[in-house]
């Protein structure tokens, strides 16, 4: 297995969705390729960081605009 082939199948590997034999080949490659070990770690960190994103506050001008629009909609209903 090459580094490129490992990266191509990384999604399934991380998800645990690879067939057993292919998964074993990937693990064997990782046992002897430090670049791919780092690549897999940084791929996982990327996912982890995105899941830690916090919500940005709604801009004040939009809040004001929404209040006006919602009030108008309520009055119409």
């Amino acid at each position: 297995m090459t580094c490129k082939q490992l990266v191509e199948r990384l999604y399934d590997f991380i998800q645990g969705e690879l067939e057993e034999e292919l998964s074993r080949h990937m693990q064997e490659h990782l046992d002897c390729c430090s670049h791919c070990v780092t690549y897999v770690k940084t791929y996982q960190i990327t996912i982890h960081l995105s899941r830690r994103l916090s919500e940005s506050p709604v801009p004040d001008q939009l809040l004001q605009r929404l209040r006006e629009v919602l009030k108008k909609a309520e009055n119409e209903s």
């Binding site: 090459t2 960190i45 996912i47 899941r51 919500e55 940005s56 939009l62 929404l66």
Partner: protein
Amino acid sequence: MADNGQHGDSAVLTPERVFHDYAPRVYNLARRMLGNDADAEDVTQDVLLQVVRKLDTFRGDSSFPTWLHRVTVNAALANRKKRALRQEREAHDPLDHFLETGQHSNSIQPWSVAPDQQALDQETQQLIEKAIAGLPEVYRDVYVLADIEALPNNEIAELLELSVPAVKSRLHRARLLMREALAPHFEEALT
């Protein structure tokens, strides 16, 4: 945008509750999908108006958060179609960075970020937001819904009218592009 149950699904939805509880969620999902504050504001207004007009339908209905996701995604996609003059960004292939022999063409450096880091500092938050905004739209939609909104692949497939394998393929490409966009910053931080 999953309902955390903080207010209870049985709580009556009022325009005020929708405004306070859901405007930030709708705004952030739209902003990340569109990569543009002004368009996200328009979409947020459209969605909240639709919500208020249909509130009677959802009084005490636990399907409200699911419906809100659908309305927001559809509004964002519709908004995007209106921007006819916007040039589509060319997506380069992250799998190009390999030698003919299949080995990495560059040295892969470790990152200075702790794998288990819980809270993000402002700089890291902005870096990730910028990287998301830089994703080609075809990948950004899937990435936002999967890795930020934490929706399962089958729901994303339904929302975006894709097959589940297509969702997985796009998500993988998106993650590779995100990793590539973030790598220079975190690698540089080591030195």
